[in-house]
Symmetry: C2
Subunit: 230 residues, 2 copies
DNA sequence: GTATTTTTGCGTATATACTACACATATTAT
DNA sequence: ATAATATGTGTAGTATATACGCAAAAATAC
């Protein structure tokens, strides 16, 4: 096996969080090196003997002190030789979601600072991180249509309107509330809790929960989630 | 940037070919090293200064002398530390299709031998190549439903029945010929050529062509391809 | 405490898309 | 000539998606 290969492998993560009807991504501020003080996606080099998945979890822990609710591989970026000025680096990037319970950021140990950045005014970032974010955002939008992934961005108990707003906010599309509710309820994987939401004006809303196990069972029997809009 | 990382990066490709109503994948026979003489997916280490895409094309050229018709990134395998006995290696794997015009294999220079392996009786392969093939095969099946990718496995001019057979063969499902034809024709991106196929018994078939440009135009206007079966 | 505003909760009619299904036609083989 | 083989086509029934408006429950304003 040839031994002179000098290409590094890094992992990077695009972590989405949803709060107060807005979508955020997690950014960290570099502590060292030529990119010091710049805001970038959490991530870093994979260690010897470490799996890719382990590396992502470790970096998220070290840099942002965060646990994600959902994680999947997004894409591997390696067609721009000079994406990192220090060395040829290939980035295996990941797509992650946090639920609001874990939205609070602990102090980061390996990063200078951490923040939630509203995605709609993301600044220009170093490396190809804007490209990675775009790719992840497209994936998120697509997945909302064919996988019940919105629930991973909401608290365990949520009013129906929150789910509606999540869809309209992220997809930037209007929605027919009646048809949407009918469709979601017809899948039969969300349950009415007997609590009601009290806050704010207007009629108090029923709270619902997403039944993961029931969804998996239904999925095994061949149903597939799909949401379209008018 | 830490300098002791000792992980190699390879690319591997699952190349599908379709001929005589059967689906094949491309395998090559290792020429050197501890895996000598074993059949594996085409691929190899990425060279310094080389992009991932370039690396795949190069390996396919060197090992199988083949040009693919369609190529996309599949998945990056790096969660099994010991997938290669020689060193920790991460495989960025690709999904590719060849059309029948390029189905003939030239003599390979970097491989001992090359062959088309019928996918339905793929033997056990070294590394995690069976896993990679499974992943690619799932991707192919999924894509047949939502992307007009079947045409990349057929010659430029083809009778409708070939397209039907491709679907039934790969998806292992029955199909209603009338509804299928109606659906495909309704998309309006395949054209009747004025040639007919002569071979064999039975009524001669019209030959059709897939109009890539028209498909792209339609796609831009928001139509999306989708094929379901009864 | 009454009126106004805000938000939730719900049903039906219409249009569109999917499914099921059978027989005539053009050619080769006998 | 007759049989065998593969292609080519239409319609009715069912299911799914879309369009659309008003009453109920609470908070807020007066």
């Amino acid at each position: 096996m040839q031994n002179n290969q000098n290409i590094k492998i890094a992992v990077d993560a695009v972590v989405f969080g949803y709060q107060d009807n807005a979508l955020y991504i997690l950014l960290i501020q570099q502590k060292y090196g030529p990119y010091k003080d710049q805001w970038v996606l959490p991530g870093g080099l994979v260690q010897n003997g470490e799996t890719l998945t382990t590396a992502v979890h470790r970096e998220l822990q070290e840099e942002a002190g965060i646990k994600v609710n959902y994680l999947e591989q997004l894409y591997t970026f390696g067609d721009d030789i000079n994406r990192d000025q220090r060395n040829q680096v290939i980035s295996v990037s990941y797509f992650a979601l946090v639920n609001p319970e874990n939205f609070k950021l602990s102090a980061a140990t390996d990063a200078q600072d951490v923040k939630w950045q509203n995605i709609s005014n993301t600044p220009t970032l170093p490396f190809d991180h804007n490209l990675i974010i775009d790719t992840a955002f497209k994936r998120l939008k697509a997945k909302l249509h064919y996988q019940p992934i919105g629930f991973d961005l909401l608290p365990k108990k949520f009013p129906f309107s929150d789910l509606e707003h999540l869809y309209t906010t992220i997809l930037e599309q209007e929605i027919d509330r009646r048809n949407f509710r009918k469709k979601i309820l017809s899948f039969d994987f969300i349950k009415k809790s007997n609590e009601k939401q009290k806050t704010g004006s207007g009629r108090p809303a029923q709270l619902f929960t997403f039944d993961t196990n029931k969804y998996k069972a239904l999925e095994k029997n061949g149903i597939h989630f799909e949401i379209k809009f008018a």
